[in-house]
Assembly symmetry: C2
Homo-oligomer: 222 residues x 2
């Protein structure tokens, strides 16, 4: 299956954290941002940070670093976060609710405009300012609103069915939090989020730590 | 700062998904698991899957693959998921609630035994079978229960304060969902979860896709 090639996923995963730190620095009036300061904040080797920043096309000035505002714009542009992306979210449970209420998404250009659920107790209620619609209205509403992305927070047992319905309604990109690998036609993007992935890393570290094998510096956010 | 060295974080991040698929195969009576089948499920190159599996110390049999049950045990052992880890969770909002209710964690040996919040409206309520305790009782209860891990789902503004308090109470490992880099003494493990990381990857793919630069096969779960 042909997939879109994106260089270096771990680098891209780090970008939001760079952005978070850089915006903090900007707000504190720091005109220049050094790789060292960012690296220290993230417990990373400065070489990695420099390499990641170079993906954006910017080059730092020796001994000074980057112009903070320029670097922020370069990172945002690299991620496509300088344009707005609309999304529909299906499954207004606790995870769905957490995502809708995640305030930083607005800064990243992600606007969740439509929310669906199948639970009669939830339909019609308002969650963080969005009305929850009946999932039976999904096809019609999605066809009309044409969201760029669908965020799936439904149980794994019905994720494929919901995704198929959304593809038929014109959605081309999915952020999938359901614990299932979606079978999709070519040309449809899927980013699967495995919440246990972070716990696996922590658990493996904990095990090695307990075995006494300590070693190199390691990022706390990979 | 000295950190625990864990080889290849992306490989470890993929392990829960391997495990999920392998357990499914086991439940369907498949005695042997081939790298090809697992690779196809995850949209990965079989070479990557074989390399990841080799981290567990097991070697597949040519043309047959791995004994499914043996591989499951090897992955669980590699991650330290064959032993139980207890956790306390602080911040019983929608994200905290989603994590407490995440049924797969039990299979991974993670048992959230203590839940704390500062909101009087939440304290005393029961969430997925766990009573929510007043955060003011945290130090005493954590000292008594000695959880292996603390899961932080508190606002970023108070995450450092809560973490400091937990370190004083004896916690040595943190799974941090707050959008802040925690400053910790040496020897304390922190795994920071950046929910926007997945959106960054999806967004970058969407941008490159829109530019028409399609290319190699790419995993939908990295």
């Amino acid at each position: 299956m042909a997939r879109i090639k994106v260089p270096n996923t771990p680098s891209i995963r780090r970008m939001p954290t760079y952005l978070h730190k850089l915006m903090q620095m900007r707000d504190e009036g720091e005109e220049f941002a050094s790789t060292t300061a960012v690296a220290e904040y993230m417990n990373l080797d400065p070489i990695i940070v420099r390499k990641d920043f170079s993906l954006t096309g910017l080059t730092g000035m020796p001994g000074v670093g980057y112009k903070t505002k320029e670097l922020i714009e370069a990172v945002r542009h690299y991620l496509g976060w300088d344009r707005e992306r609309t999304a529909c979210l299906v499954g207004a449970g606790s995870l769905g609710s957490a995502l809708i209420g995640h305030e930083e998404f607005a800064e990243y250009g992600l606007r969740i405009t439509l929310v669906f659920d199948s639970d009669p107790a939830k339909i019609g209620r308002v969650l963080h300012g969005r009305e929850i619609f009946d999932v039976r209205k999904m096809r019609r509403k999605v066809k009309a609103a044409k969201p760029d992305i669908a965020v799936l927070c439904v149980p794994s047992s019905c994720a494929q069915m919901v995704a198929d319905e959304l593809v038929k309604s014109g959605v081309r990109a999915f952020w999938n939090f359901a614990n299932v690998s979606l079978r999709m036609p070519d040309g449809i993007l899927v980013q699967r989020e495995v919440i246990a992935g972070g716990f696996a890393v922590l658990s493996a570290k904990l095990l090695r730590g307990a075995d006494g094998k300590t070693g190199d510096k390691m990022a706390d956010c990979d």
